[in-house]
């Protein structure tokens, strides 16, 4: 549910004071002694200026509002909801149909109204009314029998009224719906056409997409869940223990970024995918060490520099891109990366107008190079195998004999403190100069 449904009531609450004011005026206008002269159930607006001490222009404006909100309706051109300063006829709307009493206009009532019109005019509704009727038929299909039954009943009841009354009631009802369900403007058609075109284009592109068989996709979930289950504390617990259960934070300490020796599960996880290795700071460091031995460390450094451009401040992009070019891409650069000529050409061209994504192609090329070549070799290397062998399998935390004795829950330094300290150090350095 969206908050906007709440604000709909808000809108009514905002409108109520205005509606109340309008209604007060309308009532006094209809006062038999002080109000406007009525003639055979019709009224002429020219009398208004005498009753309220306002200018003609303002009187006309106020009158327009009355028509717009449905308190007065024109008889000659009912669809034209404006007030004309001539002797055309208008009628006061009955309080039953006032905005304050019958707001919001219900879908059900509108459906009944259109159904009645449909039956009376034998299917000759106006274009936009036809559309609304069909849309309603679809949307509230489950109560459609009720709608048709009500429509028939109301038509039958109205036939038993005097002709004069019946015409007035029909006018009143029509006026109410013209205010509450105005006909759509040409702009609306333009906008809807535009939206429809976009949707059609989108659907055409979707049709052309390459899809994968469900069996292959779904099988991959089974494999993924199986592979990660030992790492999922809610599924299979965690060693030494889940901090939330035992109040012991060993689990977090043993898996921190700066721990001396990682856990076996953690090192194993680096072998699941290249992304897992890179997402772990420790994994990334180990990988960098390996690449240095292979004299291809510049690849990872380049990749990291590109990430920094992509996710960094917009203002710093040009200078960062320039740095990257100098260090990694320029001919004879100290840490030149090996990119294919086509990508290099495209990148260099793009560097003339540096933007956030200018290094994307080059970055992707280097990423997949590492993924296909260096990463698999790292997993087979002595460096990795050694670490895996030395990695810890934590002992499960010994439980206290008395289950009621709760460990003290230690607080930890806030991550915000790290920046604070760095800032303070920086300040101290500046001051000491």
């Amino acid at each position: 549910m969206t908050i906007n449904t709440l604000s709909q009531d808000g809108v009514q609450r905002q409108q109520m004071p205005c509606l109340t004011k309008m209604e007060r005026m309308i009532i006094s206008m209809q006062d038999p002694d002080m109000g406007i002269k009525l003639r055979n159930q019709r009224l002429l607006i020219t009398v208004i200026p005498h009753k309220c001490s306002i200018s003609d222009e303002e009187a006309l404006h106020v009158g327009q509002l009355f028509v717009k909100y449905g308190y007065i309706y024109p008889l000659k051109e009912p669809r034209n909801l404006i007030l004309k300063a001539d002797d055309s006829s208008y009628r006061f709307q009955t309080p039953y149909y006032w905005m304050s009493t019958r707001w919001p206009a219900s879908e059900l009532d509108y459906a009944i109204y259109l159904a009645k019109k449909n039956i009376r005019k034998q299917g000759e509704l106006i274009e936009y009314e036809k559309e609304c009727y069909n849309a309603l038929h679809k949307r509230i299909n489950h109560t459609w029998d009720f709608v048709v039954m009500q429509a028939r009943e109301q038509l039958r009841a109205s036939k038993q009224r005097r002709k004069g009354d019946r015409i007035v009631l029909e006018c009143q009802e029509q006026a109410y719906w013209l205010v509450n369900r105005p006909p759509v403007s040409p702009e609306h058609y333009k906008l809807t056409t535009l939206t429809k075109n976009t949707i059609i284009e989108h659907n055409r592109i979707s049709l052309a997409r390459n899809r994968v068989k469900s069996s292959i996709c779904l099988e991959s979930y089974v494999k993924y869940c199986e592979q990660y289950q030992p790492h999922d504390p809610i599924m299979q617990g965690c060693l030494p223990s889940n901090p939330w259960i035992t109040d012991d934070i060993m689990f977090w300490n043993m898996n921190s970024e700066t721990v001396a020796l990682p856990t076996k599960l953690r090192v194993e996880r680096w072998s699941f995918s290249f992304m897992e290795l890179l997402n772990d700071q420790m994994g990334r460091k180990e990988f960098l060490t390996y690449l240095e031995k292979e004299f291809s460390a510049e690849n990872l450094c380049f990749w990291q520099a590109c990430e920094d451009v992509r996710h960094g401040e917009t203002a710093k992009i040009p200078e960062k891109v320039d740095e990257v070019y100098k260090q990694f891409l320029a001919p004879g650069a100290s840490r030149w990366v090996n990119i294919d000529s086509k990508t290099m050409e495209k990148t260099l061209e793009g560097l003339k107008r540096p933007h956030r994504f200018v290094l994307d192609d080059a970055q992707m090329h280097i990423y997949f190079l590492m993924k296909k070549d260096s990463y698999p070799r790292y997993l087979k290397s002595e460096l990795y195998k050694n670490l895996l062998a030395r990695a810890i399998v934590p002992q499960e935390t010994k439980k206290s004999v008395f289950p009621f004795m709760r460990r003290q829950r230690h607080s930890s330094p806030s991550p915000a403190l790290a920046t604070q300290t760095a800032e303070d150090d920086g300040k101290a350095k500046d001051e000491s100069r």
């Binding site: 549910m1 969206t2 908050i3 906007n4 058609y189 809807t192 056409t193 429809k196 976009t198 059609i200 989108h202 659907n203 979707s206 049709l207 899809r211 994968v212 068989k213 469900s214 069996s215 292959i216 996709c217 779904l218 991959s220 979930y221 089974v222 993924y224 869940c225 990660y228 289950q229 999922d232 504390p233 809610i234 599924m235 617990g237 889940n242 901090p243 939330w244 259960i245 977090w252 898996n255 992304m275 990430e307 996710h311 960094g312 401040e313 917009t314 203002a315 994504f357 990423y367 499960e396 010994k398 439980k399 829950r409 230690h410 607080s411 806030s414 991550p415 915000a416 403190l417 920046t419």
Partner: protein, 368 residues
Amino acid sequence: RPSDTLTTLKTESETLKTKLEEERAKLHDVELHQVAEKIEALGQFVMKTRRTLKGHGNKVLCMDWCKDKRRIVSSSQDGKVIVWDAFTTNKEHAVTMPCTWVMACAYAPSGCAVACGGLDNKCSVYPLSLDKNENLAAKKKSVAMHTNYLSACCFTNSDMQILTSSGDGTCALWDVESGQMLQSFHGHAADVLCLDLAPSETGNTFVSGGCDKKACVWDMRTGQCIQSFETHESDINSVRYYPSGDAFASGSDDATCRLYDLRADREVAIYSKESIIFGTSSVDFSLSGRLLFGGYNDYTINVWDVLKGTRVSILFGHENRVSTLRVSPDGTAFCSGSWDHTLRVTNRFSYARLLVNWSGSHSVITPL
């Protein structure tokens, strides 16, 4: 006549839609629960709340975890945003927003700032100061500006960019330092209620869900809608990627959660029961993706076996609607926020531990 062109377009749109559904159906050769038949069933889980965070004076609307796995930020209807160390249950920071209904909040990846917004139509970033005397509102940065309420926000891979979704029907990507809009995403036909960033290698897409019952996947660089799914019967309140990034789950007012596969380009599972009548407000996966947690408007939390499609647990802790739910970054617990003013950190109840405690002796028993 303009209405004629519209009618022709409508027909063309409908025809394409039908063709699209046919194409999608052609490659659907098996159902998820069939593939999952060979896996062992999970049996019923018992969940236990480990922490209850009390301090909000009104409905909790949103929460997010810090990367340190223990701190959280939460926001509520009365405009308060609180940063907690959920482990100790201590409140560490509090901000009063100038508006009510703070429907969105997010923790920055560095842990040094939080973002929030709601009925003010904005998303603001508050750097977290450790100086108790400093008013956090003093350093506040106004980043995003929408023309309607802010429904969700999240930082991308750094503190420098924020992704937002709004009641104005759009999503947008912003540069935090300058407040500049980097990209906007148009395509939803109504309020956008939720979003989630993809955990993919190239890190360039995100998914959003809205009141038009659609879930859309977007390219962050071009602003294009890459894929869309329209099978829900009502507003989509929450979307969350499956940990591999190949699929995402959605929770809707139609009382169902659904799983959509991005490569198969279709809905592949529905998680629902006749007895679940009220809408889902928020969903999240356990670390392995095997479990899907759903917070519901009938005050409960249902836990689903993602592969088998069955429910493995139902929790009754909250005393009002569950409005927000997130699993912690290392999967050790999940946190739920509710209209009952509280947040609860919950995980599995372990029978093995109970046994060990009562007998007084210890042994290394693998938790159930």
